[in-house]
């Protein structure tokens, strides 16, 4: 279907945790073009010294309301500008971009593993999956979106590094403790977490889809800035660079070179 560019209109933009905001944007062309959970949009900061779009995963799509929900962390200048947006403000958006999670298989027991700002795209995924959904989420300190997952019927486990909420530790600790039935695993979060999960899944012979992150410039597949290493038997080195934005961001964990 391809990506669209449009001026979205902010419906709401609320802080839901420390430095974490939830924004609903009315963007009909983009909302109606989302094909898979795990795709992302680019938000363009208004101030002219911030040149590049910020790629942000789609947390939820409502095709009836024609809205996209993003849950984002304020990490710098660009996202700081987004946090100031008010209802009815306009923001330029492009998307949807990328290959998201593949839910076309007939798996019934789904494990979703999220870490930090990797959690939001798993929400739309959990809504679309058929079968039993178990969600294991890791946060540094303060969890968010838990009720949203529960609302859609998922069984949710939470781990925090500080131990303030859920169990103290990380998502792998929970997976090792609990006996969760899994046909397919899906994950988004920091690379060390994805790498550890991939190893765990390989040991257990569970297929895992991982959503990767790289620094992007254009966010639309042009600049080749955001490449990642994917196994490629046709290449002499056994791998080749793929664009995280449009070849990914979701890859099979077994296809990724995890050396870095």
């Amino acid at each position: 279907m391809g990506a669209k560019l449009e001026n979205g209109v902010v419906i709401s933009n609320d802080q839901i945790a420390k430095d974490i905001y939830s924004m609903f944007i009315k963007a009909p062309n983009i909302a109606n073009s989302v094909e898979m959970p795990g795709q992302f949009i680019n938000l363009y900061p208004k101030e002219k010294h911030t040149i590049l779009p910020r790629p942000i995963s789609i947390c939820e799509v409502d095709s009836k309301e024609e809205t996209i929900r993003v849950v984002y962390q304020v990490v710098g200048d660009g996202t700081g500008q987004f946090a100031k947006l008010k209802r009815e403000d306009e923001i330029q958006v492009s998307g949807p971009i990328g290959n998201g999670f593949d839910i076309s298989g007939d798996h019934r027991e789904h494990l979703l593993v999220g870490g930090g700002v990797g959690v939001p795209p798993l929400l739309e995924l959990s809504k679309r999956l058929k079968g039993n959904v178990t969600v294991v989420l890791g946060f540094r300190d303060e969890p968010y979106l838990i009720e949203d997952f529960e609302k859609y019927g998922a069984k949710v486990y939470v781990a925090t590094e500080s131990g303030k909420h859920g169990s103290k530790g990380n998502v792998l600790d929970i997976l090792k403790q609990e006996d969760i039935k899994i046909d397919m695993a899906y994950s988004c979060g920091p690379k060390p977490m994805l790498k550890a999960l991939n190893s765990w899944c390989q040991e257990k012979d569970i297929p895992v889809q991982v959503s990767l992150e790289e620094r992007m410039a254009c966010g639309i597949g042009v600049c080749v800035g955001c490449v990642c290493k994917k196994k490629d038997s046709g290449n002499k080195d056994g791998w080749s660079y793929k664009k995280t934005c449009t070849d990914g961001p979701v890859f099979m964990g077994s296809d990724v070179i995890w050396d870095e």
């Binding site: 911030t50 040149i51 492009s94 790289e214 410039a217 042009v222 490449v227």
Partner: protein, 304 residues
């Protein structure tokens, strides 16, 4: 209003319907076609193509800076054979002029690419002797007048299409390089390529780019680019494609006043995927406002 204007420009015997082109490295045809009609452009300058596929540099390859960005992609490209088979047929149907940026590590590499393109419908060649992100070739050729002249002469001898040479700003005297490649037979010039830059994360105390240094582009570099286009246009009688930080139609007009015949839009297309079209419309507005009917009239209006 538009029909009274003639936006067309001549670059080395090739007529572009308007002066707007896409800067190499910031353009991919299918991706941009999602957001605009490529036939509205004067020409497209495609990403650097080498004789064989290049892998490029490790990541992170890009970083934003105040009013600009750094990149150290390292000319990752699928090679000329892939380009001819997969991208060229698409570009031929796009209704715009095709300009191919040529990358190489050696003079022989460049010559192999232009020889393979000789039998194609590519309209113009742009010789990249100024990429700051590859050690051999790239900037190695573009920073000495003797080397720049040598590679221009040899590649020109193997080319069928007119040869534009893209100049590096990372030199003591860009006019000297421009004169050297003009004498060596270049049919046109494009300038500027990126400035060499660097960004350090003060918290991690590490260079942000894996390559440490990279090419600096975006609106922050525009005054340097305008100055260099002006100096080169004064000294060399060749068509010039001006680029470096063009974000608006008025920026485009500024380059034309400085002596450019056409312009390229690069980093602006990341800030707005429709930037080329917006810039074209703004340039038309500028021409109407100032009563210009042709691009040449803008050029001639510079008052010094």
């Amino acid at each position: 209003m538009n029909n009274k204007l003639d936006l067309s420009v001549d670059i080395a015997g090739v007529t572009l319907k308007n002066p707007i082109t896409t800067a190499s490295g910031t353009f991919a045809p299918r991706e941009f076609a999602q957001f605009m009609d490529l036939s509205e452009l004067g020409g497209v300058i495609v990403k650097g193509i080498a004789n064989v596929p290049w892998e490029g540099n490790p990541t992170p390859r890009v970083a934003e800076t105040y009013g600009g960005m750094l990149n150290a992609v390292g000319l990752q490209n699928p090679g000329v054979d892939y380009f001819i088979e997969h991208d060229l047929p698409y570009l031929e149907k796009s209704g715009t002029k095709i300009i191919v940026n040529i990358a190489g590590r050696t003079i022989e590499d460049y010559c192999e690419v232009v020889e393979k393109l000789a039998d194609t419908n590519v309209d113009l060649l742009e010789l990249n002797i100024s990429c700051p992100n590859v050690k051999e070739g790239g900037i190695g050729f573009g920073t000495s007048p003797e080397m720049a002249a040598k590679v221009t002469r040899e590649v020109k001898a193997h080319s069928r299409q007119p040869l534009i040479v893209k100049l590096s700003p990372n030199v003591t005297d860009i006019v000297e390089i421009a004169q050297a490649v003009a004498e060596a037979g270049a049919d046109g010039l494009s300038l500027i390529n990126t400035l060499v830059g660097m960004k350090i994360d003060v918290n991690s105390k590490k260079a942000v780019l894996a390559n440490k240094i990279g090419g600096f582009s975006g609106p922050a570099i525009k005054p340097v680019a305008v100055r260099m286009v002006y100096q080169v246009a004064q000294a060399v009688d060749l068509p010039i494609i001006g680029l470096g930080g063009i974000m608006t139609g008025e920026d485009a007009a500024e380059f034309i006043l400085a002596g450019a015949d056409a312009i390229s839009v690069g980093t602006a297309s990341f800030a707005n995927p429709r930037a080329c079209i917006d810039i074209k419309e703004e340039l038309i507005n500028y021409m109407n406002k100032h009563g210009f009917k042709t691009i040449k009239e803008i050029q001639d209006a510079f008052k010094g």
